[in-house]
């Protein structure tokens, strides 16, 4: 498990954000949740002229779609050659320790969480990338509201959902 320390990750991520924001780069923020409804439109063959939301996300969705392809590729290459953590798995170690050993439980909860995660991100207009990293870096008030709500709900859910006392 080779890995970079968190401060190196922060510095590199900051450099990537500045490069993306720059007019010599992409002149836009990094986002990572608009591509989901865009892909849903492609996969379920929804008519882009008929749905308001598909028109709204046409540009951002396709931009993030290409970025996502890069991110899958980058993640795969690094996991195979650098961190050497590539393996097929159905259930995380932490889930076994603090929740249960049931694959079915993990998959059903994953499906449910994925579903509400995207609805939540699209209601708020962004996710960890678009709001927390890109928005807070511009000192946007919307991002600070989102960040505060997410942090509180995240920690409350963590306390209620997992059996953290069994250490």
């Amino acid at each position: 498990m080779n890995r970079l320390p968190w401060w190196m990750g922060g510095i590199l991520m900051s450099g990537l954000l500045l490069m993306t924001f720059s007019i010599f780069g992409a002149d836009r923020p990094i986002g990572a949740s608009t591509y989901v409804p865009y892909f849903a439109g492609l996969i379920f063959n929804l008519d882009p002229e008929k749905y308001t939301y598909l028109k709204e996300v046409k540009n951002a969705g396709s931009w993030e779609g290409i970025m996502l392809l890069g991110s899958l590729f980058g993640g795969f290459i690094v996991s195979v050659f650098l961190t050497k953590t590539f393996r097929l798995s159905l259930i995380p170690t932490g889930w076994k320790k603090y929740k249960n050993n049931s694959v079915l439980s993990r998959l059903l909860w994953s499906f449910f969480a994925g579903f509400i995660m995207i609805i939540g991100a699209r209601l708020a207009g962004g996710c960890t990338s678009g709001h927390f990293m890109s928005g807070m870096s511009q000192m946007a008030i919307s991002a600070m509201i989102f960040g505060t709500v997410v942090m509180i709900v995240l920690v409350v859910t963590g306390k209620l959902f997992y059996n953290t006392k069994e250490d």
Binding site: P5, D27, I66, L72, G75, S89, F112, L123, A124, M139
Partner: protein, 219 residues
Amino acid sequence: MDIIVKTSGEDFPSRIVQMFENVIHQGHGSLVLVFLIGIIFGGIIQYTRVDKFEKIAGFAMLKDTIVPKMLFLTVGLTSIGLYFMIEAGGAHYHIKPILWQGLIIGGTLFGIAMAILGKCPGTGPVSIAEGRIDVLVGAIGGLLGGLVFTLYYDDFFKPLMGESSGKLILTGFFPGNEHMVVLIFGVAVTLIALLIPKVEMFDEADLSRLPDDKRPDRK
């Protein structure tokens, strides 16, 4: 043999081609650059291991603080750099509007989901790329979420998000002192990143591949 590129069809392959065309023509970097941004983004997330369930759900349980430390450091450093880049004309603001209902309801759903799935929409694909099938199932749930959001946007979700209270930024509240506010914000957020105590939840599945003296949990 002629190669025909269809750019106006409605079938799946031509819509994929249209995705590439959209990126080429929207003026936010070349196709190669956008793909490269993705590679670096995924590479950083993978190499720092912040896509792991133990890091994100671990933070929800307050047993791991790598994710908030890295996030706050990124924001602290970027906020200062970005402000002066914008001042110099090298970048623009892209501020999202304040939709109180959307932010609070959306943030609540997002927070619950992040704790349970142990991923977010940026880190999820990186986990799928390293073979996590449970996250792939989460992504299928996400696609259906995106479908439902698109189908009921006009009738349900857009009204639920509420009216915009404007695209405000922190410096707007302190006219004349913008530089000072940016520096204080950037330094304060960076300090938060440094001051959050470093706690870690390790994954035995990764640690067991290391020799005993290299294991970070035995130091």
